[in-house]
Subunit: 452 residues, 2 copies
């Protein structure tokens, strides 16, 4: 097939580009209504529509502009035509810190090749530099494909595998680890690795993309640059997620692995902190640490690897009309731990009490987290909560249900003993419980403590 | 027992109050550090601590102030001592609209008696006027206790009962309905009644309290005033929830029953709109409608009552390591409908496909909503979504999982036929699907449409 035809443009847009003698790599000015955009013409993916022209702006961001009869497209500069050959690896600067990028799959890993328009299924260092050349100014990059999965297919086994792989690279002395991961279950994996990789000497930063790189407004490159920056240079050594902070294209926010959740199906700022402030931000290439307490980077620290996760922990979400026989079935099935996703301050209906008690009597560790997501369970306020405490349900503070489940899977991977497991589940291991904050009223009411 | 001792104050605070000759009902000035507070001394609940004095501020809000040796308490006015006798019902103004307040239980109904400090288990009109005398300026109030339950114990049967009761009152000509409800499952009930009460002539407004009225900073009175205001006077006739908009004590926000969720365990502004703007706000006694489209109040409209809900619909939340045998068990158990709470744009792991397909083959209606909560499922983007669509899973647009479940329960209450049920589930019945909004980029990028 002729390489030239692989620009991805068709129909009306192709004609408009041809009329202006624009080729891939050229610098374009696009005028539309009262707005003017300038950038490099980049190829479309084959699945793209025939209505938009896509240019790469100066800030590295791709933008799609709908072309109508009103739109004026001008070629204002001759760009370097990107070669469709594999890009060369830029010279590594030996003075830069070294970062390993581990790929597990997902949008960011599979589609990152936005300059050539080719879809690659995974990333090599060569691919990365070809796509995000800025990386060579930040760190020496090495890459490894650990697996290549849509993140909804990632399970406990993969968490263990990934944890061991990270430990391997850290013991070889890298200055930071970046994990490219699908966004769907990235927060689960980040929480899992927060428990599996303790006393880290260097940061482990998860990164993904909500929009694939062959689409305009992809967040892949900026997120990756932010993640590599943090992995190589941040003063903290924790497991965290690096993604867009808001809809602008300027700030990458770093949230702790156990305190972050995917909160929007499609927005680039989908990851939101839960019951915690962000750990740090990256803006204009500068890292600002926001957390007061954090684990400091210390390359000499000996990390502790605890990669085992149980497959015998389940999450059960309560709702009106919920059938407690689901709990009985799990118990019969040999489940060892159960997270109840209750309502409000930590409640489920009283008609569930018998099944829950039966589970606990049978040695199942039962923890409760709130489906509110934000806030802290407090099972002392109402009868329902007190009854559940009396039965032996463990209130899980301000952990939201997903982190609570991951912690339980990890806890049951550490011990076979229910009592030991309960103790571990209640222990604040790596900051998954925030310290009890003062009620919000204090902030707004000025010095008056709310009565509890 | 001597009524005088029932102020609820003890220990150090009691002594401080006695030293300043302060009695319940007196106007106090409390000076603490550089702050000064003035208000009426109100009694404490018996479960209160012995460190705080509670005063009712001018704005009707209760405030607890920790008393230390530094705190100065002065009596600056003699208040009317509240009688501990049952307050009298104020004269009803025949020119005011009539509102019925239906009580179902919860914090707002059981503890609303903040002036006397007594705990009542449910509300009579007399109790209400005693507690929130402002109501008599807004509407003629009648009350009825429908049931008295912590909301986690409310099920489909109660939804039906409540729907019928509301229809009864509306057919008798009330100008609005207020439902006092526990906050834990209020959003589920509000969603349920949104489907059960169609073509409403007048508003049906749910209201609750995050802090019981015997606590300082209770939101009960303000929420109730806002709810009655809206029920009696708003220009719309929809099912909605009225609660604090933020931590200030000034704005009540009205959110649609199908587009609102409890998002914090304890904050007063716990109810947040999901994929929708609020319907209206109430500030300084004024209602401002925010929604562009709404069902207009029309007392002549004949409402349609569809109070039946199935008990054969379940919600199953997907997570890493989720065991699809749960789905098989539900199918064997005769379930007729199932909401999958998937990840991201609408995914579950491929190892679940067989169980899901088996469910659908067995006539189970399977819908998918995203655990992201915000955003819209789009199952055309990735293989996983396309595979699920091919199996016959119904993508539920921008409904979050809880509303999706309630809708499925209602749908299966309307028809025994799976095909008919699928059709209903896909139909936008009362605005539970928002119209597809333009991507956010349009707002921030200026006129450029994002490519999909």
């Amino acid at each position: 097939m002729d390489q030239k035809t692989k620009t991805g443009y068709r129909g009306y847009v192709l004609k408009a580009l041809e009329n202006s003698s624009c080729e891939i790599g050229d610098i374009l000015r696009v005028e539309k209504e009262d707005k003017v955009f300038e950038g490099i013409l980049i190829p479309r993916s084959e699945s793209g529509d025939d209505k938009h022209v896509v240019i790469k702006l100066k800030n590295g961001y791709n933008l799609g502009i709908k072309v109508t009869s009103e739109t004026i497209i001008k070629r204002i500069g001759k760009g370097t035509k990107p070669s469709f050959a594999i890009p060369s690896i830029p010279k590594q600067n030996p003075n830069l810190p070294e970062v390993v990028i581990l790929s597990t799959g997902g949008t960011i890993a599979s589609r990152v090749d936005y300059r050539t328009g080719a879809v690659r299924s995974a990333l090599s260092a060569r691919d990365l530099y070809g796509v995000v050349p800025e990386l060579s100014d930040i760190a020496r990059i090495k890459t490894e494909i650990v697996f290549s999965l849509y993140s909804e297919n990632i399970t406990q086994t993969h968490w263990s595998q990934l944890a061991k792989k990270i430990e391997e690279h850290i013991s070889q002395g890298v200055n930071g680890v970046v994990v490219a991961h699908g966004t769907d279950t990235m927060a689960y994996t980040a929480a899992a690795l927060s428990f599996a990789l303790q006393d880290l000497p260097v940061p482990v930063i998860f990164v993904g993309a909500q929009r694939s790189s062959d689409r305009p407004s992809s967040d892949a490159a900026l997120n990756l640059i932010g993640a590599v920056k943090v992995a190589s240079r941040a003063s903290f050594a924790e497991v965290a997620i690096a993604m867009h902070e808001n809809l602008s294209d300027e700030i990458i926010v770093i949230n702790r692995g156990t305190k972050v959740r995917k909160c929007h199906t499609s927005r680039r700022d989908t990851f939101k902190p839960v019951n915690a402030s962000p750990l740090a931000k990256v803006a204009k290439g500068k890292i600002t640490v926001l957390a007061k307490d954090f684990k400091k980077r210390n390359p000499l620290r000996k990390m502790i690897l605890k990669p085992k996760f149980s497959e015998s922990a389940v999450l059960v979400k309560f709702y009106p009309g919920f059938d407690p026989k689901v709990i009985d079935w799990h118990v019969k099935n040999g489940v060892r731990g159960l997270i109840l996703e209750g309502t409000g301050l930590g409640h489920v209906s009283k008609y569930c009490f018998e099944s829950i008690e039966n589970a606990i009597v049978n040695g199942v560790v039962v923890g409760l987290a709130s489906q509110c997501i934000w806030g802290r369970v407090n099972m002392h306020v109402y009868d329902t909560g007190r009854d559940l405490l009396n039965i032996g349900v463990i209130p899980l503070e301000d952990m939201f249900p997903e982190t609570a489940l991951v912690k339980l899977m990890w806890v049951l991977g550490q011990t076979e003993q229910p009592e030991e497991a309960k103790k571990l589940l209640k222990t604040n291991i790596i900051g998954e419980f925030s310290s009890r904050t003062l009620p919000d009223e204090i902030l707004t009411k000025g010095g008056c403590k709310d009565v509890k």
